[in-house]
């Protein structure tokens, strides 16, 4: 999931011809002042922190300026601030337009229908989740024919747009569809799409590109705005790595098993902090890699929960024990293992002789790791 920052999303919009306010990205207050002084961005202008979290307006991450000096000042105030855990490094400076109504438009996937869906609402400028569903129009789009003109007309009508406003919406919707398909997007959202005089303009841009389509989009390869360094390493090793806010590390193979493991830990009062999902595999090499990666995340205790399917449990256990030896004593952590499946008894014996607790029962194992994280021995 590659979430594009607003300014990157708007670059994509620009490429596809979607109407935008005049604007530029700056990374310092001096740049902000210069951009307004030279007229690159007309005054008055708005300065927006380029962070991925929502609610920037209320959070002080959006400011206005009427003069170059004010622009510098506003930029100084926002740049470097911490917004919902993200440090603000970039600002988008844009002309402040005289805005009429604010609308909502997006394209995303309807999984149940297995079809893309065009969503529009006359109530833009707020989180779409907070909008009354009857004020949202959803039209499924068949990928074999694309977004049809009649569907675009229906969207305009639902938004209450007629005449030149409807006319200015039409190519924007067509472009959104193009972006959704050609850029392999999961979500393309304009919120708000604002009425400015006799046309509509995209004031914001939310574009999420699908990770799995990265092989045909090298242009997004360098954009990993929302990943921690460890997540990045995990990605390279094809291990799903997710950081949560607890202190127990979980290594499991398979998303379902991982989630079930987290659910059990929580049941016993544990707080998962990091989880590594090896995917469906029980490849001993991958288990070992995950183990070493986990060590770098410095958890209070680790729960390894692997179901040995194709590979035998003893092979997995041997790999794990070898990986453990590579972790310096100072970085060791309490480990509770649960290896089940093919050749289970032999695997458990190997772990035990290396001093690792292996518990077959998920309840017991869960309880043990929670205890260990709270300072007790596993």
């Amino acid at each position: 999931m590659v979430k594009l920052a607003e300014w990157r999303g708007k670059e994509v919009f620009r490429k596809y011809g979607i109407a935008l306010p005049k604007g530029t990205v700056v990374r310092s207050s001096a740049e902000a002042e210069a951009a307004t002084r030279t007229g690159t961005v007309p005054l008055p202008c708005v300065l927006k922190a380029q962070v991925l979290a929502g609610g920037r307006g209320k959070g002080g991450a959006v400011r206005f300026a009427a003069t170059p000096a004010e622009a510098r000042e506003a930029a100084e105030a926002i740049l470097g601030m911490e917004f919902k855990g993200e440090k603000v490094r970039e600002l988008l400076l844009e002309e402040k337009l005289a805005i009429g109504r604010e609308l909502y438009v997006s394209l995303t996937l309807d999984r149940s229908l297995r079809l893309p869906v065009l969503m529009v609402s006359p109530h833009g400028g707020v989180e779409i989740e907070s909008v009354d569903p009857t004020s949202i129009d959803r039209q499924p789009i068949h990928p074999f024919v694309g977004l049809a003109a009649y569907e675009r007309r229906r969207a305009a009508e639902f938004l209450g747009l007629t005449g030149p406003l409807a006319k200015s919406l039409d190519p924007i919707l067509a472009s959104l569809w193009e972006i959704f398909q050609k850029e392999d997007a999961e979500l393309v959202e304009i919120n708000p799409l604002a009425v400015v005089g006799d046309r509509v303009v995209a004031l914001d841009a939310k574009v999420i590109i699908e990770d799995d389509a990265a092989f045909r989009h090298s242009e997004y390869a360098e954009i990993r705005d929302d990943r921690t360094p460890l997540e990045e390493i995990a990605r390279e090793k094809e291990i799903a790595f997710v950081q949560l806010d607890g202190n127990i590390g979980v290594i499991a193979n398979g998303a379902g098993l991982t989630m079930a493991t987290l659910d059990v830990l929580q049941e016993y009062g544990g707080r998962p902090g990091v989880f590594l999902d090896l995917g469906g595999t029980d490849d001993p090499k991958k288990v070992a890699e995950a183990f070493l990666l986990m060590a770098r995340a410095a958890p209070r205790a680790v729960f390894l929960n692997v179901f040995g399917g194709v590979t035998r449990c003893d092979t997995v256990a041997t790999g794990l024990v070898e990986a453990m030896r590579q972790v310096p004593a100072s970085e060791r952590f309490p480990l509770v293992a649960r290896i089940r499946g093919n050749n289970e008894a032999e695997g458990v014996a190997i772990l035990r002789s290396a001093g690792i607790t292996s518990l077959p029962d998920l309840r017991e194992a869960g309880r043990a790791v929670v205890q260990a994280a709270q300072g007790g021995r596993p």
Binding site: N253, A255, D263
Partner: protein
């Protein structure tokens, strides 16, 4: 009896010369599956695990009258492999490959549908009917023939649960791993009628995950069309919103697809929902002892 795969299933493995293709060809054969051909362009004339390799699906089908395929080819080529299988006239395709872009999968799904090919997956462990046939990668050891039909969005969690059911002295008619991607070829709603119609399936175990609305859709379907007892489980109760929990499909987005919503929907449809996977075998056993055979 069983659904989707049985003794008449004749499998082609697409991408048979790759590591996964080779390993699982062997495992399928050990399970008793008739793996009749493999396909890898440019490798015609060779063989893998005693299975002849062809350059194309058309040639493999012509030589072996296969009726199912199992796709192991890397994600960038999966779309093409599926189209080739569909065009060759195959009935059933199990796509094990993960990380297929969902835009590709949309095309694949709708194209297969036009042509009457059923897809299981992608990013799925496949289907197994113990004692008869397996197409996919579910470990052979977990199965035991019996009266339980299993449908699941998970992989290893399914192995665990099936293993638990088998160890409890029960067993399975067919286990279908639907896969964890946002767009899949066969959903709960598509699979439920098969198990409902299968005379030997006495009870259905349904393993869901957070994300999407497949479980809610299933609850609606169960309420209206399923007479057999259903035991459910939803993984991911503790998952925070906005985090993708391993599977591309397992994500609570914009407050939708939570475990709570799914659990409530299933319970309102009369499904008994386990809170933890280890509760499932006991629930199944208890329910089976109550139900008429």
């Amino acid at each position: 009896m069983s659904v989707l795969v049985d003794g008449r299933t004749r499998v082609v493995v697409q991408g048979i010369t790759g590591h996964q293709g080779t390993v699982h060809t062997r495992q399928m054969r050990l399970f008793g599956t008739q793996v009749v051909a493999g396909v890898t362009p440019g490798k015609e004339g060779s063989s893998v695990e005693g299975v002849p390799v062809y350059n194309s699906m058309a040639r493999a089908m012509a030589a072996t009258s296969a009726n199912a395929s199992c796709i192991f080819v890397p994600a960038p080529f999966a779309r093409d492999a599926l189209i080739e299988a569909v065009d060759a006239g195959i009935e059933l395709v199990v796509i094990v490959t993960e990380h297929i872009p969902f835009h590709d999968m949309l095309t694949m799904y709708h194209y297969a549908r036009i042509r009457g090919t059923r897809i299981i997956g992608p990013n799925c462990p496949g289907i197994a009917s113990p004692g008869l046939s397996k197409v996919g990668i579910i470990p052979n050891v977990v199965f035991r023939p019996g009266p339980v039909g299993v449908i699941s969005r998970s992989g290893t969690l399914t192995y665990e649960i099936v293993n638990g059911i088998s160890e409890h002295g029960l067993g399975e008619t067919t286990c279908i791993g639907l896969g964890g991607d946002p767009v899949n070829g066969t959903s709960f709603v598509d699979a439920l009628p098969l198990l409902e119609a299968d005379p030997e399936t006495r009870l259905i175990v349904m393993v869901g995950e957070i994300g999407g609305a497949a479980e809610e859709d299933a609850a609606d379907y169960i309420r209206q069309h399923v007479s057999k007892p259903v035991i459910g489980y939803i993984a991911g109760r503790s998952a925070p919103p906005g985090k993708r929990m391993g599977h591309a499909g397992a994500i609570v987005l914009r407050g939708k697809g939570t475990a709570e919503s799914k659990q409530a929907a299933l319970e309102s449809a009369g499904v008994q929902v386990a809170r933890f996977p280890y509760e499932i075998p006991d629930l199944v056993a208890a329910r089976l002892s109550r139900a008429p055979p």
